[in-house]
């Protein structure tokens, strides 16, 4: 089922949680709502579910206005951040809950409910836990049970609030992959909320970046990462080096130095530029190749890549990442004078950052 979010606004007292948000989510997609905490993403998810109401705007489910429809009738599955499993019920009873509370004439036969619960538990690979209680499960297992419980009522839309937020790093990674696989299997339209950019980029088909109640950018993980539409997105996704300067005739002027902007150019005037750590080439010697002169301050060469910390002439720090073998090939060491040539610069007008 497709979801259309139309001009949703929501205010808590003086605080604008959501400000004219519009998003289209095609049927079958897995979409991440990504943003810092307090940006309104969870509120938006709850509005889609019907757990909260918007002050303005509409939620269309499969083209129908669902804004006035009660949660119960929206056919959504919701996975809560802390799972909200019923702790006095067994795992099987938890999963069966949505099927058992249906009005008598819609309710399935008991045998059928049990069959379906078993199938769902197999789907989340935890059928051996059917008779345990939630308190006896690990966090990751609880998360999967919460998902199975949400799926039991065959929702048309699956909504997940910080699904991996409460898990430790290793389990989180496993579960991420598993959720992606599960989605590829069942293909139900899914929206999940996260503040972890890595998670959003790895799992989702599309990412919606939200900041201060507004949509900053919508796009595939590649496009939002490679072509951030706003300074916020550039800053929020992955690490970046920030440069304040001026754009004049196709060059970014940083103090005494100017970096060529190439074909993309940039509008004239005060500007902020972003360069990701892996988008630099390092050339020995100052002034070589029109690059930015800098001195290698520190090198951390652990794992597949080397993190190099350089200081510019004015003392500002720049972070650069290169593959470790490349770094060894270059043969630099701390104290060396080098030039940095960005392969890719994203330039925004300075006003855009302030906004």
């Amino acid at each position: 089922m497709s979801i259309a979010i139309r001009h949703i606004s929501k205010q808590f007292g003086a605080f604008k949680a959501l400000d004219d948000v519009s998003i289209d989510i095609p049927s079958g997609e897995l979409v991440a709502l990504l943003g810092p905490s307090g940006c309104g993403k969870t509120t938006l998810l709850r509005i889609i579910a019907g757990l909260d109401f918007a002050d303005q705007g509409q939620i269309l489910l499969e083209g129908d206005d669902a804004s006035a429809r009660h949660v119960r009738d929206r056919q959504v599955g919701f996975v809560f951040q802390h799972y909200a499993l019923f702790r006095h019920m067994t795992i099987a009873d938890n999963v069966a809950f949505g099927l058992r509370v249906k009005p008598r004439r819609e309710r399935l036969a008991d045998a059928e409910i049990q069959r379906r619960v078993k199938r769902l538990l197999e789907l989340v690979q935890l059928d051996w836990l059917a008779n345990r209680y939630p308190s006896q499960l690990s966090g990751g297992q609880r998360q999967r049970i919460a998902l199975a419980r949400a799926l039991a009522v065959e929702p048309k839309v699956l909504l997940l609030d910080e699904p991996f937020g409460a898990l430790d790093a290793k389990v989180r990674k496993e579960l991420r992959r598993w959720l992606r696989q599960l989605h590829d299997e069942i293909h139900v339209t899914s929206v999940f909320v996260t503040h972890d950019q890595e998670e959003a980029l790895e799992v989702s088909d599309r990412v919606v970046v939200i900041n201060k109640g507004k949509v900053e950018q919508i796009g595939t993980p590649e496009s939002v990462y490679d072509h951030p539409a706003t300074p916020f997105v550039a800053n929020f996704l992955g690490s970046v080096n920030l440069f304040h300067g001026r754009v004049e005739d196709g060059h970014l002027h940083l103090g005494e130095h100017a970096l060529a902007l190439g074909a993309q150019g940039g509008s004239e005037g005060k500007a902020v530029a972003f360069v990701r750590p892996h988008e630099f080439d390092i050339v020995p010697g100052w002034g070589a190749g029109g690059g930015l002169p800098a001195t290698i301050a520190r090198v951390v060469s652990v794992g597949p890549s080397a993190q190099i910390e350089l200081s510019r002439l004015d003392g500002e720090l720049i972070e650069v990442t290169v593959a470790r073998d490349v770094f060894h090939l270059l043969g630099f060491s701390e104290g060396d004078q080098v030039s940095l040539c960005p392969r890719h610069i994203r330039v925004f007008q300075a006003e855009a950052l302030a906004a």
Binding site: V71, R72, H82, F97
Partner: protein, 297 residues
């Protein structure tokens, strides 16, 4: 004004480490003071009740309990509690649901109003019903005309008891339900549960210990209330005597052994109440610990 202990998830013990330990004599002195105070102020009165009750032997003790007047008092006490407790139970659940699950203006004020009966003297709690239903009261003439007796009769005793025990259940449930939050309830709603199903399956299992705790306290007070009931009862033997009132009558007639025999039943009730309370507190504390662990992850 009950002291709600149910809320404290953390253990109520905390033991010293080397750097924070008081000198041994301080510790010994404090423990001695506490134990002495405990023995003189709490144990001695409790022991006295049973000792005085049994002063004239088991025969006299049983005789004091097994007679018409005593039995009538016991019966009236049970009836009063059997009416007052369910009423306040339903109210407590409704009020706690309202206050813990919804946001609305005037909430703090409402909580203060619910607390009111705790800060009203028992004597005044009785007086207000005399002012309403007594011969000179608002409804007095009308009631007299229709030959309905409330004051100096059972309905007055029940009303005064309901007033005095009014906040107990609500007071236990409100902080408990506020601490627990509404995620389970929301999960149940999303899964299609109806209103009663949400309460029955998602809420009740979470609050059952706190609810029981409130009911225990409410019941103890309902059975033991003296001042308010004393004002509205009229002290008619065999008709409007609850156990505490009967104890007073016997005591004022210098029938000490019998007074303490009946009092010992009430003291037993208090002991059972405290035992149940200790048990329930352990349960709620465990439950709340689970919650804090969960949200602390």
């Amino acid at each position: 004004m009950s002291t709600s202990v149910a809320l404290h998830a953390s253990s109520l013990e905390r033991h010293e480490t080397a750097s924070t330990r008081e000198p041994a004599w301080v510790k010994a002195a404090l423990i001695t003071v506490a134990l002495t105070f405990f023995a003189v102020f709490l144990l001695l009165p409790l022991g006295t009740v049973f000792a005085e009750g049994l002063r004239k032997g088991w025969g006299a003790y049983l005789a004091a309990l097994i007679n018409r007047d005593a039995w009538d008092a016991i019966k009236l006490t049970l009836i009063t509690a059997a009416i007052a407790v369910p009423f306040n139970l339903v109210f407590g659940v409704a009020a706690a649901w309202l206050i813990a699950k919804f946001e609305f203006p005037g909430k703090r004020l409402l909580i203060t109003f619910i607390d009111l009966p705790f800060s009203v003297s028992p004597v005044i709690s009785g007086l207000i019903f005399v002012l309403l239903f007594g011969a000179q009261g608002w409804f007095g003439p009308w009631l007299q005309a229709h030959d309905i007796r409330i004051i100096f009769a059972v309905p007055g005793i029940v009303l005064a008891t309901i007033f005095v025990t009014f906040p107990f259940v609500a007071r236990e449930l409100i902080p408990l339900m506020e601490a627990q939050g509404s995620e389970e309830e929301e999960a149940a709603v999303v899964l299609g549960a109806s209103g009663w199903q949400v309460f029955w399956y998602a809420t009740l299992p979470k609050i059952k210990w706190g609810l029981l705790y409130g009911v225990i306290l409410c019941n103890a007070r309902a059975m033991g209330e003296f001042g308010a009931v004393s004002v509205v009862s009229g002290h008619i033997r065999g008709q409007t005597n609850t156990m505490p009132l009967y104890v007073e009558i016997l005591y004022n007639e210098y029938n000490y052994a019998a007074a303490f025999a009946v009092a010992s039943l009430l003291a037993l009730l208090a002991i059972v109440t405290l035992a149940l309370k200790t048990l329930v507190e352990k349960q709620t504390r465990r439950q709340l610990q689970e919650i804090t662990e969960k949200s602390g992850e």
